[in-house]
């Protein structure tokens, strides 16, 4: 089947602070239009749900038009609409779901409410082609930190582990603030860490003690790490020492990258899975990528990772998952489905 024979899927994403509209045929990316409200959250030091929701309402129709233009198609060409049904910020999700339902009704096309987390994994298919074997996915962003096992992108995903407190991206934001760096914390810390020594300060790796590995084998916790950094910085300040920002940034980044990659590789090994997908906004972090590549290579695991614009939240990943679901001939979601801020990952497609 050539690309143009495959149905044209339009995907809508509004689960956090990016309004995304993507167009996809099969595993071919046609457009990925994103409007971000990140600048509006800077002075609050984190995503403010109401600010994000207001921005989604303003951005959704312009982003829709931009996506269509980018793909060189018209609304009449669209065969199906996919939308993030959850998980995510409740009010933000509702803007996208409402727009997607209106779009589907106005076009008289089927609508698929899909899982945001599995969408991150589907995005990788747009980069390197279909995922054929089971994969372990490490998803790291400001909103989530999970290890998934995806046996079938359209039908079978399970949660192996997740953060018990802060998302990794949130930890970056909070630590950046502690050491006087800008929001969002990911890029700021990465920049500061370049001149630092990652082994100068050893910060704790959450949930890695033997006892924690029994109960929370694939789970994460970053609140202890954040407190450890705060304690370290405050002690230095109290003693009148200059805070070595570069070393703190490097040591913190190393602790996060270490625990994330260690557990994800362990999941692959213990489950006999030979492919890992790394996605989410924090996957842009150079040290995390480097350490993941190195450890996967050492363990004989193939690492797959989409480009950055497909790693962060976007509509193309939702279209990609929609395309997989359509290809499988699964029934569309009913028009009265609810968005679900805590949609479990096992629910790839909502009813």
């Amino acid at each position: 089947m050539t690309v143009t024979d495959q149905p044209l899927i339009l995907g809508i994403e509004t689960s956090c602070d990016e309004t995304g509209v993507g167009l996809v045929r099969g595993t071919t990316l046609l457009a990925n239009a994103v409007a971000s409200s990140v600048d509006e959250h800077v002075r609050f030091g984190g995503v403010v749900p109401e600010v994000a929701s207001r921005a989604h309402l303003e951005a959704i129709v312009p982003t829709l038009h931009r996506g269509l233009d980018e793909a060189g198609v018209t609304l009449g060409d669209v065969d199906a609409v996919a939308v993030t049904a959850g998980p995510g910020l409740a009010g933000a999700l509702m803007v996208g779901v409402s727009a997607a339902k209106a779009l589907a009704v106005a076009l008289d096309k089927p609508l698929y409410g899909v899982n945001h987390l599995v969408g991150h994994v589907a995005a990788e298919q747009l980069e390197n082609g279909p995922l054929t074997d089971p994969v372990v996915a490490l998803l790291v962003s400001g909103g989530h930190t999970e290890i998934l096992q995806v046996d079938d992108i359209a039908t079978a995903a399970q949660l192996l582990g997740q953060t018990l407190d802060d998302a990794a991206g949130e930890a970056f934001d909070k630590v950046a603030r502690l050491i006087g760096l800008k929001y969002p914390g990911g890029p700021s810390i990465q920049r500061a860490a370049i001149d630092g020594d990652p082994s100068a300060i050893r910060f704790p790796r959450g949930l890695t003690s033997p006892r924690d590995m029994d109960r929370h084998r694939y789970d994460f916790s970053f609140s202890g790490l954040k407190t450890a950094v705060a304690r370290w910085v405050e002690t230095a300040e109290r003693d009148g020492d200059a805070v070595p920002v570069a070393d703190v940034a490097a040591g913190f980044q190393e602790a996060v990258a270490d625990v994330l990659t260690r557990k994800a590789v362990l999941a692959c090994q213990e489950r006999g899975i030979s492919t890992m997908v790394l996605a989410g906004g924090v996957a842009a972090n150079a040290r995390l990528r480097e350490l993941t590549q190195q450890r996967c290579a050492d363990a004989g695991i193939e690492l797959r990772q989409p480009r950055f614009s497909l790693c962060t939240d976007n509509g193309a990943m939702i279209a990609a998952l929609g395309a997989a679901v359509v290809e499988r001939g699964l029934p569309p979601s009913s028009l009265d489905f609810a968005s679900d801020s805590s949609l479990p990952v096992t629910e790839v497609l909502v009813g």
Binding site: I60, A106, F337
Partner: protein, 213 residues
Amino acid sequence: MDTSTPAVTVALHDGGRVLAHATTVDPRRHTELLMPLVTSVLRDAGAARGDLTEIAVGVGPGPFTGLRVGLAAARTMGAVLDIPVRGVCGLDVVAHGAVAAESPAGPFVVATDARRREVYWAAYDASGTRTVGPEVGPATAIAAELGAVLPAAGAGARLYPEAFGPALEPEYPAAADLAAVVVDKAADILPPDPLYLRRPDATPPAARKSVLA
């Protein structure tokens, strides 16, 4: 369509009369209810989406999350069908309904639930023309601002009876009234932009707390 109150309400108007309408009251299910109501109203009237020539939507004020459901749907449908989308203040729609239902003898108020012990409100003359508002604030402060205790339509009148005279119908805006208001240009026709009246609840982070004992 209007989703600015617990009532999710949809009507189809042909320029002469209301052909079909449907309303479901449920404050937590706007996203689920709205588009199925749109399709059922179209079906009831034997109309197709392509027959639509204009969309009217309530722009609030109202609780933000629900309000945005109608606005996102109306703007998207308008964009897809390439037809204009008209906005109307939801309080004006209730006022229009009150004039039709109650023929009030004098000025009255429309007050809807703004949560946090406050109402969204506006004052109207006996013909339903807005004279004050829309504003958001405690119901108990309205009589002082207007210099009189007036009868009131809307859910706010039922929530805070002590602040108003007799409660007037309707309790919620009806899309049938909204459509009629737009057809008759019986109130200000606005762009389909939300009337939030409140800023987002958000404060820049405070100075950090000590973690040392």
